[in-house]
Amino acid sequence: MPSKKDALTSLAWQTIPYMGLAILDRQSRVCAWNDEAERLSGLLREEVVGRPWSSFSRELDPARLPVGFRCETDDGGTVGVLVGNASGHKLISYQCSPLQEASECVGYVVSLRQQELPDSSEAALSVLRERRFRTLLESIAHDVWVANATGEFVSFDTNSSNTSPAISLEERLALIHPEDRPRLIDVVQKALHSQEPFQVEARGLGPTGQWHHFSMRAVTITDAKGQLQEWVGMTQDVSEPKRLARIANRQMELLRVLADASVRILQCTDPGVLLQDVFEVTKNNCCIDAMFSFVGDSGKGDLRLDSCWGNFASLIGEQAIVQGCIAKCTQAIRSRKIVCCCDIQSTRDPELDVLRELGVQSMVCCPLIAADDLLGVLVFVGNSQSRYEDEELAFLEMLASFVAIATQRLLAVRQLCQSEARLREAQFLANIGSYYWDCVQNKIEWTDELYRIYGLDRETFRASLEAYLAMIHPDDLERVNAVIQAALTVRGRYSHEYRIVRPSGEVRWVSGTGEVLVNEENELRAVHGTCQDITQRKLAEQALAESQQRLGLIAEHIQDLFWISEMPEGRIIFASAASQKVLGRTARELVGQSFFRRTLVYGDDLKKFDAAESRQKSGLCTVEEYRIVLPDGKLRWVSDCACPLIGPGGEIRQIVGVMRDVTQGREANERIAVQHAELLQVSRLSTLGLMSAALSHEINQPLSAIANFSSAASAILERTEHDRATLVGLIENIQRQSLRAGEVVRRLRDFGKKSKRKKEPCPLNTLLEDSVTLIYVELTSRRILIHWDLQESSPVCIADRIQIQQVTVNLLMNAADALLKILDRPRVITIRSYVRDDFAVAEIEDSGPGVHGDFRDRIFEPFSTAKLQDGSLGLSICQSIIQDHQGLLGYSANQPEGACFRFSIPLGVPPA
């Protein structure tokens, strides 16, 4: 007959995969070590079998165990460390039970359990918890309301709007913008009729008396028969997202206009047409009613009114307005910065008195600055719009930069034209000198005019080839020499332009021509030619070239990187100075590169970027946020707004864009997300503390069952004849109980793990059942009966299982707390699951006293139910978790008594 030890050993082996088990012989030497024990301890079977138990285990003093550990002191249970391999010591709790055969100890069974250490000490956690909690709460803003089937509000939990539940429906409607009111009423009435969920946006009066955009979403709650019970809705202030979207759209629109206008402006040849164009653009896009410009020499403070456009008749008088603007123009000129005066009618600035009397609403003065030269001031006057948004001001500022560049260019062109005309006149008269060089005698003759060009005196200067070459600007000398030598060799004509240095040091540009003369035998005889001073023309040309380069100097004070790339090569033809700030690369590095943006994009964001780029290539404007890699390897978030410029043939000629550093905002958001996750983790760990009772209960249940079953098996084996069927039954029971113990450990381990912040399909029923198990002891010790009413085939929802479990545990604990007050009737919590529309819905209903009337309006407010001390979360956090899952958390009073909380999460897989 096999010994009992052998029987149990082989039994433990094959059947208990989730539990670390070791069998020791009478001398406490290991004789068996299963796979799970290997996994838990990191000690291989070969390493331990045959060794005395005490040689690699070390008992720990129960008093010195870390928080969260429970140490069994009875029945041989011990928490200890297994001293092991390279991966270090593992903290394992083990429990040792003697194995008896005919009331004689034949060995020991040791079960191993892994202990997980809490992350840090309790005190540190509570400080962190408090701080993060506050940060988090500040980011939540919305209202949740419940209405009955006929649309009357039952509860209204207000947070952000100024509506209070006490006001009637009529009063509430009065808060809606009159233009949106009929539409809102229509939608709501239709919804009440059809009993379909609805969503509507409307403007409502915010707490500060301004119109806010509200998005109102409502779903229906029906009873088991499908009868509509009530509406649960959420009203959310969407003004901020709306405003941001509007700004982005507006920016895009203005950028497109700007890009379009910039091409026209920079190519314009007539200053009158140029400013007319600018005025039309601003009139159509920024509600500008009039525009005028001052130009002149800023150095002398001599600015004069250059031109006026606009409907001055609607204002009172052109001259009066110009006068009224002078003070502010002067300020703009002095500061070289844009000056914007909004809401003139309601300000008290004495400098604006004249404009105020004339009924002008707003005025913007943009200094025209190209390179460092102040060319004038462009003044925009608005009579119909009282204020300008930041993006409009940026638009006007950029436009002014273009005007400045164009103006400077036009000035240069004008000068060039003038000097060219003069040249033509004087060509053969004043500015041309000539020479004759007799090569045979090496004698050079210069005309008086040539001496004048060179700034020389006929008396003191003796012309010779050497003396002539000495006059040439050192940078040009080689080139000039080469031209002359070539001409002499090939006996031809030549012409070239070069610089000379007058004795006074002054540099002049000259244009020289020459012809080599030969005799009949083709021998060199002489060279003769002309020389002309072209300095003025050269300077004008240079000025023109420079002014075109000045495009690169636009908006150096603008923080955002403005860039233009030429399609289809994607070559950057322009990048503003801000590129140093935004991209960490100078504009010079970028210009000329093809598709520069793509090369900088962080790998993970390439997909996003490519999608945006392909939209641009199909002619759409895009706003996209992605990360770029700085030269030092750091990452930075940028918001890139790009617009394609479409040519007359429909082809995309250029893409222009503005790139902004948004790292700070992004980081703040990420920080909040991380804090959120950490807060949940902290709270979960403290919930784990709360559940340590559950842990021991849940583990001890199967363990005691195992002890009982195996003791029964021993007793039967001791008899001389035993019933095989009974034994098999007992062994099967042992097997089932060990699996159960393993399952408990798994559940707790999962709950304590850091959330992956990953949503995946999970069955709602299992989730609810697991949550109840986690706090089973808490519930039974309060003598609460759980009544299950789950949908037979579990709804599968897309959720972060741990987070939703946390919400459920919280709702259950709230219900359990409420039930403590009940002494005269059974304490029951009903847990329900069902599917409504595309949502999996869970309901936690209690038979407690319900939520008190005053309090009902505030349950979702931060801190109203926040119970930090026991590690649970407030309802407001629960709500933010559920909202993060695109679901709703709602409350309704239960009939005839108690409270009912329900949350809905979008369904993952539609139920078959």
Partner: protein
Amino acid sequence: MTLVQQAAQVDDNDVPQIYVVDDDIEVCSSVSAVLRANGFPSQCFGSAEEFLSQAKLRVVGCVITDLQMPGINGIELQAKLREMMSPLELIVVTGFADVHLAVQIMERGAVTLLEKPYDPKQLLAAVEKALNRSRTNFRRRLETQEARSKLDQLTEEEIEIMRLAIQGLTVKAISANLVMAVRTIDRRRQSAMQKLGIQSVSEFAVLLANAERS
């Protein structure tokens, strides 16, 4: 039926009842298995309510109950059994021991409190102890009841006389004490001993001790 009559139906040859009450059905059946293997048949109940409504409560035996249960818990079950003077002894089992509760339970007369997981040997020992105690207590209570009902047949005077008699007072001394004729006292004493069916005053002392036992 009076308690005495009921109790009279139970004699030592009857198998004592063992009840297991635990909301965890697996634990219930494991306890039952270990008991059966050791020759103790038992009956399982999933809750205290079920147990109270279905089990025979006025019998010798014991109840092995979990402490934490939804609805009526171990402590309340103990109170209920005490209230109805059930001879059943209580063995309380708990998943996690709360010192306060443990003291309370032991003070109220439970046989023992076992913390899960326990050595099944401890359980078997506790069951044996509980059955013995139940049997003894039951027998003692029976005696008390018997004694009380016997004493109920006596008049006040008779009891008074017998009380003085067992203190060792002579008939004369009693007569002086109660201001009664010696002959009357003698007659009353005879009548009392006849009613009780006893031969000596010392037997009365035993009877009285039984009757006055709480």
